[in-house]
């Protein structure tokens, strides 16, 4: 019974119907007044909100995200160009493999000489650097 009455008052207030106190008994009028007060208070916006710096921080983050997205597209383009470059080199190697093979042959035959030469050059550079630092 009590629940039916409560449901009726809530339904009337939900549909924003004008409620006349006369329609209700003295006991129900207290409930009606309490509900009317509750409904109007629930509509009031809470004083608390997001801090003022919230929007600035958020927009900064969005700008960073946007920059990152444009950097990513740049990397994708560069990656694509590098891939095309490798494909071109691969094609050249395949097309001129006989010339390249004889070149590699020469390198392999002179492997000892190439290794000793590189080592000597590295040693000389090291000695030269130490000498320069002393003076």
């Amino acid at each position: 019974m009590q629940e039916d009455k409560e449901r009726r008052i809530q339904a009337l207030l939900d549909t924003r119907q004008r409620l006349e106190d006369a329609e209700f008994s003295a006991g129900d009028r207290d409930d009606l007044l309490a509900y009317k007060t509750l409904y109007s208070t629930l509509k009031e916006e809470p004083a608390q909100g997001l801090p003022l710096k919230f929007k600035a921080d958020l927009l900064r983050r969005i700008k960073v995200e946007k920059r990152r997205a444009s950097d990513l597209s740049l990397y994708l383009i560069v990656g694509f160009v590098v891939l095309i470059g490798f494909a071109f080199v691969g094609f050249v190697v395949f097309a001129y493999r006989s010339v390249l093979l004889s070149f590699i042959d020469v390198i392999v035959k002179l492997a000892g000489l190439t290794f000793t030469g590189t080592l000597a050059w590295l040693l000389l550079s090291l000695i030269d650097r130490k000498h320069t630092l002393k003076h």
Binding site: Q10, D31, T37, L38, L42, K43, F54, K55, K63
Partner: protein
Amino acid sequence: MMNEKEIILRIIKGDVKAFSLLVDDYQKLIFHVAKRMIQNDEDVEDVCQEVFIKIYRNIGNFAFKSKLSTWIAKITYLASIDYLKKHKRHLSEELPENLPDDLTDSQTPEDLLEQKDMSQYLNLLIGTLPAPYRLVITLFHLEEFSIQEIESITGMPEGTVKNHLFRARKLLKEKVKQYLKNEHARR
């Protein structure tokens, strides 16, 4: 003055100024929903930022089949649920028989009553309700969403939404009634 569709199209093209307008229009809605679900201020701010980032990334998927506010409220609701799950907070759905008289806050309900700040008093009381009840009350009364819109935001069946609204309002009404009675006696 840009309309909502124009704002959305400009955001899709990457216009940050248009996004700033959207932030102005919807930050209260997002804050109210997240605050009701999470309650802790610092966490709420983080969730609000995550929600806006999600909106920025996914606004191209908005199909104009619902109001933008409904779509945004749904994203906020889901982000809040994710946050609560991630931080292992229990989402109680059980409504207490009575609302407490002594609430732990810097101001007690009695202080607030003396200041005649019914709004703050009610907010404290709403804070003691389980999350789904808090959310439904906020969406319906503060944000003025319809029952069907709340159903679409939360995924709760219409009957559950109505029941949550009825029971939460009934409990809150008892406290308001008590307050009004005390006020009357004081005069």
